[in-house]
Point group: C2
Chain length 350, copies 2
């Protein structure tokens, strides 16, 4: 079924950009003669690894959170105000005493929601697996979020988060399956196109599909002739398969170093956008991702996490085929520990 009303439009992305102004970082666009020579095109890298929390996720989380009602965001202040007046406070429902936002994530979205909450003067509860990397947990807690853990082998994180949200009156902000999240995530592509002008193609990593949907909405909205290319890890080709099938298909949970793209099926909302606006999906192997990370490190002097390096891998391996003259790339994030980078890229080139 193709719908004619899209959950996200160019105006939504523009609106998100206005809200993010002065809050999200306007990340730099980097160019490299070496990369241009290897790719055979002029390449513009929109570096979301320099975004706050180290990834584009902050754009979507903040845009969604900033649209909640003042009451929803009033936890702490509101509660404190009323607590002084015992009689008034005693009449408040648990929801009124305890508002704020919630999310489930073991990765960049956790930090993004935690920081969005802090920026908006409210609090966040993040549902994370017990065995989440200590650095991610520490970063999330560092933004003032409350962390609730679960056993990833026995528990359902969505159910836990939904129960918590219902119980405590929290607004749940999903990592991609939400119009405001997609619109916010699309602002990276909007900024890129505003800065460098029309492009012939735009390469974007595809995980749950929010960044892709927002980016394609911005890009096709501004320049209908632009070629939109999604890049997935070979093992996590759920969006490629879904596009081919014409409907969302599920694959076994993929094993790939691109942890931000290890999803088994596209989002419903995101897929409804991507099936209309995404021209093609190309796949890259984990070894190609490693080589692209090493190239980014040694030649571009930037740190890119595995998922963020997939479009660069597609360019360097020629998997996109013959490139048009001007190509944009969303480098989506740079959250990889030095130790993990050493494991992945410290050895010989493949």
């Amino acid at each position: 079924m193709t719908t004619t009303t899209s959950p996200v439009t160019l105006d939504d992305v523009r609106d998100a950009a206005a809200r993010l102004k002065g809050v999200a970082r306007r990340t730099p666009v980097l160019c490299s003669r070496t990369l241009d020579a290897l790719a055979g095109a002029e390449v513009f890298l929109k570096c979301e690894n320099f975004q706050r929390v180290g990834a584009f996720k902050f754009r979507g989380a903040y845009n969604a959170a900033s649209r909640l009602s003042p009451e929803q965001l009033s936890r702490g202040v509101g509660a404190f105000k009323f607590r002084g007046a015992y009689n008034a406070a005693s009449r408040l429902s648990p929801e009124q005493l305890s508002r704020g936002i919630a999310a489930y994530s073991s990765g960049n979205h956790a930090q993004a929601v935690a920081l969005a909450a802090r920026e908006l003067g409210t609090t966040a509860v993040i549902v994370m697996p017990e065995d989440a990397p200590p650095s991610k947990r520490a970063a999330t807690a560092g933004y003032g979020a409350e962390i609730v853990t679960y056993d990833r082998y026995t528990a359902d994180r969505v159910a836990i988060a939904e129960a918590l949200a219902a119980d405590r009156g929290l607004a749940l902000i999903p990592p991609y399956e939400h119009p405001h999240v997609m619109a916010g995530q699309g602002t990276a592509a909007l900024e890129l196109l505003e800065e460098v002008g029309e492009l012939d193609a735009l390469l974007t990593p595809v995980g749950g599909g929010g960044l892709m949907a927002g980016s394609a909405t911005a890009a096709k909205g501004l320049h209908p002739g632009i070629r939109t290319v999604g890049v997935e890890p070979e093992a996590g080709d759920d969006t490629k398969r879904s596009l081919e099938a014409g409907r969302r298909v599920s694959i076994p949970v993929p094993r790939t170093i691109a942890d931000g793209q290890a999803l088994h099926t596209p989002g419903e909302l995101t897929f409804s956008v991507n099936r209309r606006l995404l021209d093609e999906v190309v796949l890259v192997t984990d070894d190609e991702i490693r080589d692209a990370m090493r190239f980014a490190f040694e030649r571009l002097k930037i740190v890119v996490e595995p998922s963020g390096a997939t479009p660069l891998a597609a360019l360097l391996t020629g998997r996109v085929g013959r490139l048009p003259p001007r190509v944009g790339v969303v480098v989506s994030g740079g959250n990889v520990d030095a130790g993990r980078f050493a494991e992945l890229c410290g050895g010989a080139t493949h």
Copy 2:
């Protein structure tokens, strides 16, 4: 002895900046809330790791090379022109038949001179040790330079380069001990101050002293009250000792991971500038440099080589003492292989 005429002035740095316009990259200035919070000051990082060839060295090499006479730069074209006319050619001296530029370096200066030669349409001969890292050798040859190797345990590279230069009519461009090199290297600080306005302090790595001399000339010339701080690795404290002694002193060749600062004595010209304009030198250990590289990687998402990370190490360890409100840092380069980075920074934090 203090001289009143300096080998490099603010006007020289400005003049170099004009020559470098459109040739050197105007590198980005990065800021980080995390770094500001840790340092207790607003910090502006001038990122010369994004400079062409991956380090500030290109600025000095190109500025010096661009001032050579057209005849000096005419190798190839001039020789070819005359060779057609046998009689004329037979009268030419070897110098006239074979011009161009030369340098001795195993590091960033080699690539800088090779690229400067290519940009100016001439050729470069680079004297490198036989055991120079293959990646550096390949990069230098990649810019079209001829590489002459020597045995670093038995031969004197300066003597080899000088003999070659004399024999073939080449202009030798030293890595720091030259007014045009210092002036060119100072353009990074000039750009930083033009972009962000007055700063209270400027931290710069000190190796041979050219970057420091050029930076201090630009900084004190624009803002006489600025505090200039040089940073050396603990084992390579030749400039600190020389400033304390009031004359150039020699130390044993230092063992440090900061290979760009492994010098045993300051340059004569550079020291004559630095003794006037450098307010203090602070020292950092190799472990502190490693931690700073890891911080740059994980928090700033940029690749910084050991020498380039010394000022960041000084900030993060508090070795500069109480900082004034606005602090500039020259991040001098980012040339470190992924494998070497893994060796240095892949393990636990110190």
